[in-house]
């Protein structure tokens, strides 16, 4: 057992700041992501979710402060085999078939190409896959997990948007990551598929001890997470279990809780801005 598997925290950020272009996109984040389980990263479009995930994956330039991932500074080479990062836009080769994509990424990750002994990943398959034909190798298993077995031979360019993002997700299931960072993995998928994927995410977390950090702006997915990080405009708005957040705000749903927190934050901002705008109004009149 390595050090990281004993640490109760997978990601630890302190005063994390990121500048992109001329704008400070992350304005001093402090949070931890617990080891194991599914943590949701929620916030409006443009608030910095992708930027934060890129920082955790170690590919975001101009990040300051502390960001520790699995006990090491983010971006350490030793972390590369341990993190699976799924980008928001599907990152697969459009001029390869789904299977060829997975075979390439599997080779990069050092996963043996076809090992019957590894027919199923340690966490088992989606129910649909278990019923299907006997699958061989991690590639087949990953295809089954995202329900793309029937499209394995199709060019990625010929897939629908949702199919393509599932192909991109399948890549992250190939290796044996300790941390999965998934940027809006369920956007544009139908409810049945979404339920299947959330079951898979929980199985990864529960049976295999994988930590999942999943971003979304679909609030009804928040209740599927064990813990939530709510972001707004580059800052952390709140952090806790869905139940805690509802209780703290007196709201019935996480969506409502989020909206109340946003309104409170807006009010606080407005109070700060009021003097400025009064001064500006005075000038212009």
């Amino acid at each position: 057992m390595n050090k990281s598997s004993l640490d109760p925290v997978s990601v630890r950020a302190h005063d994390l700041r990121v500048t992109r272009g001329r704008v400070q996109v992350l304005k001093g984040l402090d949070f931890t992501v617990r080891r194991g389980g599914v943590t949701g990263l929620l916030g409006p479009s443009g608030c910095g979710k992708t930027t934060l995930m890129r920082a955790i994956a170690g590919i975001q330039a101009r990040a300051t402060g502390t960001l520790e991932v699995l006990g090491r500074p983010a971006g350490s080479p030793a972390l590369r085999p341990l993190i699976g990062y799924v980008t928001q836009a599907p990152s697969v080769y459009l001029d390869l078939t789904v299977r060829q994509n997975l075979e390439y990424y599997a080779a990069v990750l050092g996963v043996p190409r076809a090992d019957p002994a590894m027919g199923a990943p340690p966490w088992g398959h989606l129910p649909a896959a278990r019923l299907g034909a006997v699958s061989r190798g991690r590639v087949d298993a990953a295809l089954a997990d995202v329900d793309l077995t029937s499209h394995a031979g199709a060019l990625a360019a010929d897939l629908s948007g949702g199919q393509r993002s599932r192909a991109s997700l399948a890549v992250a299931l190939l290796g044996s990551p300790e941390l999965l960072v998934l940027d809006e993995p369920t956007v544009g998928l139908d409810p049945v598929l979404r339920r299947g994927l959330w079951e898979l995410f929980h199985r990864l977390a529960g049976q295999h001890g994988v930590t999942l950090l999943i971003s979304s702006h679909v609030m009804d997915e928040a209740d599927r997470c064990e813990r939530l990080l709510l972001m707004r405009a580059g800052r952390l708005l709140a952090d806790g279990t869905p139940a805690e957040l509802r209780r703290r705000t007196g709201a019935d749903t996480v969506e409502e809780a989020f909206l109340r927190l946003v309104d409170d934050a807006d009010d606080a901002d407005d109070a700060g801005d009021a003097d400025d705008s009064a001064a500006r109004a005075g000038e212009s009149v």
């Binding site: 994956a57 590919i59 975001q60 590369r80 001029d95 390869l96 080779a107 990069v108």
Partner: protein, 249 residues
Amino acid sequence: MNAVLSPARSLATARRVLRQLAHDPRTLALLLLVPVGLLVLLYYVFDADRTSFDAIGSSLLGIFPMVTMFLVTSIATLRERTSGTLERLMTMPLGKADLVAGYALAFGAFAVLQATLATGVALWLLGLDIAGSPWLLLLVALLNALLGTALGLFVSAFAASEFQAVQFMPAVIFPQLLLCGLFAPRDSMQPVLEAVSHVLPMSYSVDGMTQVLRHQDITGDYVRDVVVVAGSALAVLALGAATLRRRTD
């Protein structure tokens, strides 16, 4: 830069690049047939002057692989940068050297095919008359392809779009074409240009082809040419690897 090269990951990358190419039969056909077509064209352009056909034809056999591989590689790596696949690879245990080596292997292998076909047609169908061995021509052609791949990789770092990438071709390749000795002997050029031509790798590839055209045996100049072209290709490949950034804005 990641100094360790993983043969398995480099080979997997080469295989992936070739598979991508295989899904694009039109590009494949163009890459293989355009050089042959141009040689045939040249043959009839110099209908009454076979010596010129020999001289220019043998030089072109070296220039084709460099130009085509330059274009193909710069577009391919630009796509890799813009499609998010490079971003994703950079989160994985893939060394930058693995990626660069993969591209070089794939396009190098493809260039062997392209150059073999073009050289075969030139020598046996069009009667291109060389004193030396066709293998020596092929070696220079292969090294030129690697140089083209290396330059393509390198410039793609400075291109934000396909439009820009294509414009690098006249910017990077044409000056070398003008100065390589194909249009005018290098020692007859304005002295500054002549000096410049001494540091441009294409001058050495064209000279290498000319050595094979004129001499039956391997000459000292040929060896020097091969070393210079191979050395430039390796140096530019290393530069290309250095332009790959794991962390981006």
